[in-house]
Subunit: 257 residues, 2 copies
């Protein structure tokens, strides 16, 4: 049901609870921005690149850390390289964008004062609530705007166990909800999950690296339909397939605004 | 995709990797057992009540702790009272059973030696991987055997955030997978999730207490169909409804046995 706080925050800002668009869907059309911006896409960029108002930048969990396996790093490098292309000696943005990821963007976006009254100050994004590198969800999402699709490289840590030695179905559902929802948000603005339908085909061993591929199926009014396939890193084995239905919302209603 | 390690362990035990039934489905028919046993149901009881072979008993996460809200405690007390009935001055088992819950049953069940070679020694059940009381999933499952149903009292901690101030859809999916799967396991033996289909109707505020009601729909060969409704604690508001399909498995295949 999530949309990563990161994206929802695009709609939130005020003395307390005013709605503005820190970075709206028009962010997709910034053809004039230099190629290096592909590493700081949408929403967050508006905060980080110019006038970050707080003492320190939050940790971007989508960047490599020492827990990443060589396989995870290799896949990261592969997609990250696609974020830049060289044309006539100049580096330009490619079709892919790496999406940064934080454990609580709202805290940073508002300075935390008003929202800490409204929300618990200790709240953390579910997928980023474990600080120990490699213990929980290690993942990075790359968006392909022209194709209206994305891929997530996901390494499942030892705290995600369900069946002995394998990843919990709820942890797989969490990644599917997060990645399909992220794509829906980029395509349709702030959304909430309305339906998730998942077929578990083959269990995922703890510690392994898988790919979560998502693609837009269709948009009908407020409804955005996303399909999803979780495969082995070489794409040969299908672990889970799923569909997600997302409804466009006015995020203000979450706060009674 | 999980079946809590607790239940899967029913099928696992040997020098290394032999399959036996520590407590099988016949556990349902222990009418001769005293009422007090309803607090130590199936599987674990076989380990804990007679010859617990290790130095200390593991923590049972389904028992009340200081983080539980008065509402959570009240619901616990309500269902726990139904686990015992008094007839002619004697206490007997009621229709309900409280299910204990551990963060890694296999570790305890085998002494950890063989399985630690096979699995990561640090692995923890996804729903019990946070030690801080109240921060993650606080829940307790009560099983109603005659009705082939169960109810889970669930208090959502601040580390389960998805939309600002609300529970992540993946965390809700995790509870649904866990509770439907637990019921399927009690009815059909070790199972794996084959399909989960969830409709998110209304977001769940962080910190609130909800009920997860599950009931058997039908059994067809290896397939067990479970329905599920996540409601407010007074049952007035429907947050999520879902169906789960589970396939009976031989747990040995998870280990290549």
């Amino acid at each position: 049901m999530l949309r990563q706080g990161l994206y929802v925050v695009r709609g939130l800002y005020r003395d307390g609870l005013k709605l503005i668009r820190l970075a709206g869907q028009q962010s997709f059309n910034r053809a004039h921005l230099p190629a290096s911006y592909c590493h700081q896409p949408i929403g967050v960029r508006a905060l980080t690149m110019s006038s970050w108002p707080f003492s320190s930048k939050p940790r971007d969990y989508s960047l490599p850390n020492e827990s990443w396996s060589p396989e995870m790093q290799k896949l990261y490098d592969h997609y990250n390289a696609l974020c830049e292309v060289e044309e006539e000696g100049e580096k330009k943005r490619g079709a892919w964008w790496r999406l940064p990821s934080y454990n609580r963007t709202l805290k940073y976006a508002t300075g935390g004062r008003c929202l800490s009254k409204l929300l618990q100050a200790k709240a953390r994004l579910f997928t980023r609530n474990i600080e120990e590198p490699g213990a929980g969800f290690e993942y990075v999402v790359f968006l392909n705007k022209p194709e209206k699709s994305c891929v997530c490289v996901f390494q499942a840590g030892h705290l995600l166990e369900g069946p002995p030695g394998h990843v919990h179905g709820g942890a797989i559902a969490t990644m599917i909800d997060s990645v399909t929802g992220t794509l829906a948000t980029y395509l349709s603005g702030p959304v909430m999950t309305a339906n998730l339908n998942m077929n578990y085909r083959s269990p995922i061993p703890l510690g392994s690296v898988v790919l979560v591929h998502c693609a837009l199926e269709k948009v009908e009014g407020r409804k955005t339909f996303i399909s999803c396939r979780v495969t082995s890193s070489d794409r040969a084995k299908l672990h889970t397939d799923a569909t997600g239905l997302f409804l466009t919302i006015n995020v203000g209603h979450l706060f009674g605004a």
